[in-house]
């Protein structure tokens, strides 16, 4: 029996929405694991493979893209969502900076100061570009 067109569309939209939720939780898990790995090296990754998690993430992104394309869903670019996304992006940038600084903690203090200052300058201009784009 051929599935009704509307049912098929609803099913695909449902899959798209659910995959989006899975994607969010998956990203959350990867971020948590990266933070944990950075703070306590090799403690958490003895039980789980980061490569498999990243592979899983790509698979989800591929499926989201697949269903999105079939249903002609465009990534929403309205003002509210774009603000939300840039907030998340800024949060991720700060988090990445902290993780990088933490992984450099064993380096010589002079090198650490110079590299941190350089990173902060780059980060400042990066933020400036993002914020000016939003305006």
């Amino acid at each position: 029996m051929v599935m009704k067109q509307s049912t098929k569309q609803q099913l695909e939209l449902l899959a798209y929405k659910l995959l989006y939720d899975v994607f969010f939780l998956w990203i959350l898990a990867v971020i948590f694991l990266l933070i944990a790995q950075n703070i306590l090296p090799n403690y958490f990754f003895s039980q789980i493979s980061l490569a498999k998690m990243i592979f899983g993430l790509f698979a989800i992104v591929f499926l989201i893209g697949f269903f999105g394309k079939r249903q002609n869903i465009l990534i929403d670019s309205n003002q509210e969502n774009s603000k939300k996304i840039s907030k998340i992006f800024i949060f991720l940038l700060i988090l990445s900076a902290l993780l990088i600084v933490n992984s450099f903690r064993n380096l010589e203090i002079h090198f650490l100061i110079i590299s941190s200052l350089s990173a902060l300058i780059v980060f400042f201009f990066f933020l400036k570009i993002i914020l000016s784009n939003q305006k």
């Binding site: 509307s6 609803q10 099913l11 939209l13 449902l14 798209y16 929405k17 659910l18 989006y20 939720d21 899975v22 969010f24 939780l25 898990a29 703070i39 306590l40 090296p41 403690y43 958490f44 003895s46 039980q47 789980i48 869903i73 929403d76 309205n78 903690r105 064993n106």
Partner: protein
């Protein structure tokens, strides 16, 4: 949970399905997180022995076919557990193992070596005195200086000799008396121009350094001589004497154990601690000293302690010396003093008894497999790294596979160990001192 797809509206029925789906996804995520945390904080430790030559990913079990009717399987771990699951799979048409007993002990495999009838004796090169008699231990035998005049004319002083009791002297095999003043007996020690030498087979063999000499002997055991003697006997410069067996060395970032002319690097600090060694016993070695030795494969946790290791049985207060695949009792205060230069490995005599047991039951899957579970919480108090499981099949048994899985119960005591481990890892990672 955040909704990133608010603008995609579903029909009411599908919206309901979506809501249920979201809850299910959330529940799945939470249960996966809990499962992951449980496996991280309370990990299972799996060991397997496959006698049909199939490759296995888990840790390998040690296997010892003691006799036709006794087989021992050894799992190695520094950790303590709550439960041990034992499963044995036999080949087809083998005797039924239902109700057969599996016994378990936790010990050090070297400490479990059979006790030799021979007692530990003074090592070669030792100079001994007993009332007015003076001796040198040479080639494993006790050689008496025939008179005070003899040892004095050879250059020895009374303070080169250490006291020994009648029992200690009596326990040693007697060698020829030393009557010559022209030639030195084997295992005589000299200090010539700040270098220590041993006289053996009419040849002088130098010690690589003072540290290597002190790992074998005391400073006062060597007779101080001038350079003349170097012209009198050939000097074997190509084969300097290294550290004593069982010496722990550090070089660069590695820690090594000396065994029979080789240095064995420890694969990690956990193995070092699991073997009961003490960080204070490590001697820093230089490039020349470490270069004397060939490097052996890494010292992993499954390897037994080498010859020269001294164990202290905390249950009966007795000391034992490992010699080959035997252990010898160390009796006598003066002998003990020599062997206790390094701290002994603490062991428990009671650990040699197979005190824990369970009866095998037939399993539905895999075919021809039997298993049972042993509570092993009480083994935490016992020193050792080798969990040895013994089975006594009545006849020869064709075994295909043995699996052992150790697990920890989720309780406060185990949680405390885990938190302490995390604390230690944080201290290590952020540059604080070790708290062992």
């Amino acid at each position: 949970m955040l909704n990133f797809t608010k603008n995609i509206i579903l029909e009411p029925t599908w919206q309901k399905i979506y809501s249920v789906g979201r809850v299910l996804i959330l529940l799945g995520f939470l249960s996966s997180t809990l499962y992951f945390l449980k496996n991280t904080f309370f990990p299972l430790e799996k060991f397997v022995l496959n006698l049909k030559n199939q490759k296995v990913a888990e840790n390998l079990l040690g296997y010892e076919d003691v006799s036709l009717s006794e087989k021992i399987f050894s799992a190695y771990s520094k950790d303590n557990f709550s439960l041990a699951n034992f499963r044995i799979t036999t080949a087809k048409n083998q005797p039924d193992l239902t109700s057969k007993t599996i016994s378990l002990r936790k010990t050090y495999s070297a400490f479990a070596y059979p006790l030799s009838e021979k007692k530990a004796i003074f090592p070669d090169r030792t100079l001994l005195k007993n009332s007015d008699q003076f001796f040198l231990v040479s080639n494993g035998k006790l050689r008496k200086f025939s008179s005070r005049k003899i040892f004095e004319s050879l250059g020895y002083l009374e303070n080169n000799f250490q006291e020994a009791t009648n029992e200690e002297i009596g326990s040693m095999e007697k060698g020829e008396e030393i009557i010559e003043t022209q030639n030195y007996p084997d295992n005589s020690l000299f200090l010539i121009n700040d270098t220590y030498y041993e006289f053996f087979n009419n040849t002088l063999r130098p010690f690589a350094s003072e540290k290597t000499f002190l790992s074998h002997c005391e400073k006062n055991q060597a007779i101080i001589k001038d350079e003349e003697i170097l012209g009198k006997y050939p000097v074997d410069q190509d084969n300097p004497i290294g550290f004593a067996n069982g010496t722990l060395l550090s070089f660069d970032i590695g820690v090594f154990l000396v065994e029979d002319g080789k240095v064995i690097p420890f694969n990690n600090p956990e193995t070092f601690l699991a073997l009961g060694y003490n960080w204070d016993d490590i001697i820093p070695a230089n490039e020349e000293e470490i270069g004397l030795y060939q490097r052996d494969k890494v010292f992993s946790i499954s390897r037994p302690h080498p010859s020269g290791t001294v164990f202290f049985d905390q249950d009966n207060g007795q000391y034992y010396l490992i010699s080959g695949k035997n252990k010898q009792e160390i009796q006598g205060e003066n002998i003990k003093r020599i062997y206790l230069k390094r701290k002994p490995i603490l062991a428990n005599g009671k650990s040699l008894d197979f005190n824990f047991s369970c009866a095998l039951e037939k399993k539905l899957w895999p075919f021809n497999s039997y298993g049972c579970q042993l509570p092993v919480v009480d083994l935490a108090k016992i020193a050792g790294k080798d969990y040895q499981f013994k089975i006594n099949p009545s006849s020869n048994l064709d075994i295909s596979q043995v699996n052992i899985i150790f697990s920890r119960e989720i309780n406060w005591l185990n949680m405390r160990d885990i938190l302490s481990d995390i604390k230690q890892r944080l201290f290590d990672a952020y540059g604080y001192e070790t708290i062992n």
